[in-house]
């Protein structure tokens, strides 16, 4: 039983990566201890859901010889996780599931001394777009209606989000800047709470990830007005994008797995193979579709380049909103 499984894994790896010298290395290295699978956010949020989903796929298919141990280290807007990885005593067994605080927190809290470019790219699992939502009872059906309404209310229009300097506050700040809007911004501690208070009409609009708003959208309570994605989303073909409105802006939440700084090449190759398989598997592809995540596969070099541009973009966005 064991023999055949190993044989099968070897064969699969061999055929998939036959052209890469890494394949040989990947087989040499195996985890020796349970793998620390740090989650950059608290339980229940998007990153947590993804981490537990990935863990369960790995577990169900017996893809690693040592278990992944998920631990939520969401403190300090992810600072806790970043420090945990930076100071990891055993980088070969330390992984992290990220969101965009991976970029923003080191910029906002320079005292941490975290340089994400030292981290080890493993696998980009997908990116999560943002959408502007209003409640159906508001009567607003188009982005233009929304702009008119916000202007009319002159500073009394209330939007909710997940905290100053967080992903959605960046989106809202950009939108407000582009259209000269005055918005009253109420920070919450999670996207779920934001969506709930829009459903209860405690607030007037949100920019939630589709996954967070989906339930209310399907029940007919939420109306999507604008997508902050590069192209129209498959699940919301009638919703225009910010780019169509003439502003070159798109914004996604990164859903990636990264390794601790100083992880050996052999270990990194091993994890890339494991999570690469998870990524290609049917379970994950279905998850991407049902939660409206966009695929964004990248290799190591592309990921590093992507990180560099993201850091630059976030530095610019954050300085613009004064966060």
């Amino acid at each position: 039983m064991k023999l055949t499984k190993r044989l099968f894994l070897g064969l699969a790896a061999g055929t998939a990566l036959a052209t890469l010298p890494i394949a040989a290395l990947a087989q040499d290295w195996q985890p020796k201890r349970p793998i620390d699978f740090t989650i950059m956010a608290g339980p229940g949020g998007g990153a947590d859901q993804i981490a537990r989903f990935v863990q369960s796929v790995v577990e169900a298919n017996d893809m690693t010889n040592r278990p992944l141990i998920p631990t939520n280290r969401g403190g300090g807007s992810g600072a806790e996780s970043l420090l945990h990885l930076k100071d990891a005593r055993d980088p070969d067994h330390t992984l992290m599931v990220t969101l965009n605080s991976f970029y923003t927190t080191p910029i906002r809290q320079e005292g941490l001394g975290v340089d994400i470019e030292t981290f080890t790219p493993i696998t980009m699992m997908g990116v999560d777009p943002f959408v502007l939502w209003v409640h159906k009872d508001s009567g607003i059906t188009t982005f233009e209606d929304y702009i008119a309404k916000v202007k009319e209310m002159d500073g009394e229009y209330v939007m909710g989000g997940t905290g100053t300097g967080q992903e959605d506050s960046i989106v809202i700040a950009y939108m407000a800047g582009a259209y000269d809007l005055k918005i009253k911004y109420i920070p919450y501690d999670g996207g779920g709470a934001v969506a709930k208070d829009l459903a209860g009409q405690q607030i007037m609009a949100t920019v939630n990830n589709p996954a967070e708003a989906k339930g209310f959208y399907e029940a007919g309570d939420f109306v999507p007005l604008l997508a902050f994605s590069d192209e129209r989303m498959d699940a919301y073909p009638d919703v225009p994008t910010m780019k169509e409105k003439g502003h070159d802006f798109s914004y996604y939440n990164q859903r990636a797995i990264v390794g601790a700084p100083g992880m050996s090449d052999e270990a990194a190759a091993y994890y890339r193979e494991v999570f690469g398989k998870v990524y290609e598997g049917e379970d994950w592809q279905n998850y991407l579709a049902s939660e409206s995540l966009s695929p964004l596969p990248m290799d190591e070099a592309q990921t590093r380049a992507y990180w560099a541009t993201q850091v630059a973009t976030h530095r610019k966005l954050l300085s613009e909103i004064g966060g």
Binding site: R52, S56, K196, K214
Partner: protein, 503 residues
Amino acid sequence: MEALSFLADGVLVALEPLNLVLILIGVTVGLFIGAMPGLGSVNGVAILLPITFLVPPGSAIIFLAAIYYGAMYGGAISSVTMGIPGASTAVATTFDGRPLALQGRASLALVTAALASFVGGTVANILFTLFAPLLATMALSFGPPEIFALMLLAFATFVGLGGDDIPKTIFSICLGLVLATVGFDTISGEPRLVLFDIDGFLRGIGFIVLAIGVYGIGEMLWTIEQTRGEVTTTNPKMTFKGMVADTKEAVRRGWKGTWIGSILGFFVGVLPAAGATPGSLMSYGVAKMVSKNPEEYGKGTPDGVAAPEAANNSASTGSMLPMLTLGIPGSPTTAILLGGMVIWGLTPGPRLFVDQSEFVWGLIGSFYISNIAALFINLAFIPLFVWMLRMPFTILAPLIFVLSIVGGFAASRSMHDLWLIVIFGLSAFFLRKFDYPLAPAVLAIVLGPIAEPTMRQSLLLSSGDPMIFFTRPIAGPITVVAIILILLPAIKLLRRKRSEKTA
């Protein structure tokens, strides 16, 4: 009536052999996880989540719900036997549970807790079955000002109860509130009070850390010092007859608290963000207020155990409601359950009851069955827990210290937290010597992180006008009641002075 036929199907699903076995295993595992200080239902559910992928989704969530129920019953066990609340929901259970145990009535306390939990869970299940969609709408009407008003009420029940030294109670609450602000601030997005620039404080200070420090270390040191190690807990041998007598006494002396807890706990639990802790606390407060013998509270009355225990079970069921109907977790444990549901391909939210009615009613059916299973399994283990108390204190005390340290580490796997536990333990010991009540501090660290952001969100909504807490139709009355409760001791004092004058 349609709901009832769905429910009958649901109960049948829960009674399928596989599901029934899962319920029994889940409840037993949950009971022991809950009884372990530091480990609560959150840890239990998180640890066992991956195992559930071996069984179909319906069975998996039934299993997790059974663990959840088991852990809720189990929380009372460490509160009573060791005096350490295993979870924030069981803090109020220590108030009367611990004194009962020290009087040699641990079995009465545990039987009361089990029965009250059962009634609380059942009442909640019935309310859930009948009014789920209506209650979901009610939950939505609670915005930040309403939640803050509710937290104010929770604090007020504490201060307004009187009896204890009120300035010292307020000091203790403030201490807890200050500790609660350590870490990352959601509203401004900035770290606060990162003491001595130690990175560990970025995460903030958790309830578990303070509770284990205060109860597991501080209280134990104090007990050792008071008694010089000669603690005599004369817990009689457990006999079947004795348990029957305890059951009768529990019903006679705990029914009132049970009802208050069941109803109040459910309505507080239904509100997302609030959850079981304020529910259990408020129930204790209300039970004491309406009691004919309020002076018995805190010295060991079954009503004082029944109210919070009924409430925390009732609220746990209640907190499933916002999770299922709105996709909003009412507690950290339901947050993990929610993650599980997403993994199984179910979308919690307004459509769940319609699109996945078989799943939903199967789950609710399993609540009924889990609750019954939990009652009997719990009763069966009570002799074991009481037997533990008959160990000599010289063995029990070091055992509790070890459990505290292990439990404290297991919750977060961080040495930083362990040092904090020791520091809090020693500080608590000295504060205890000066007669400062520490339960308010422990509760403030739970309620503070809910109260503070909701207050600031409300004030942002109203552009800084505090009238928002009075003018909104739901928040207004709650705030007024809370303020009256806070002022009650002062009014009583005035009245007494006046009557002294006239007399």
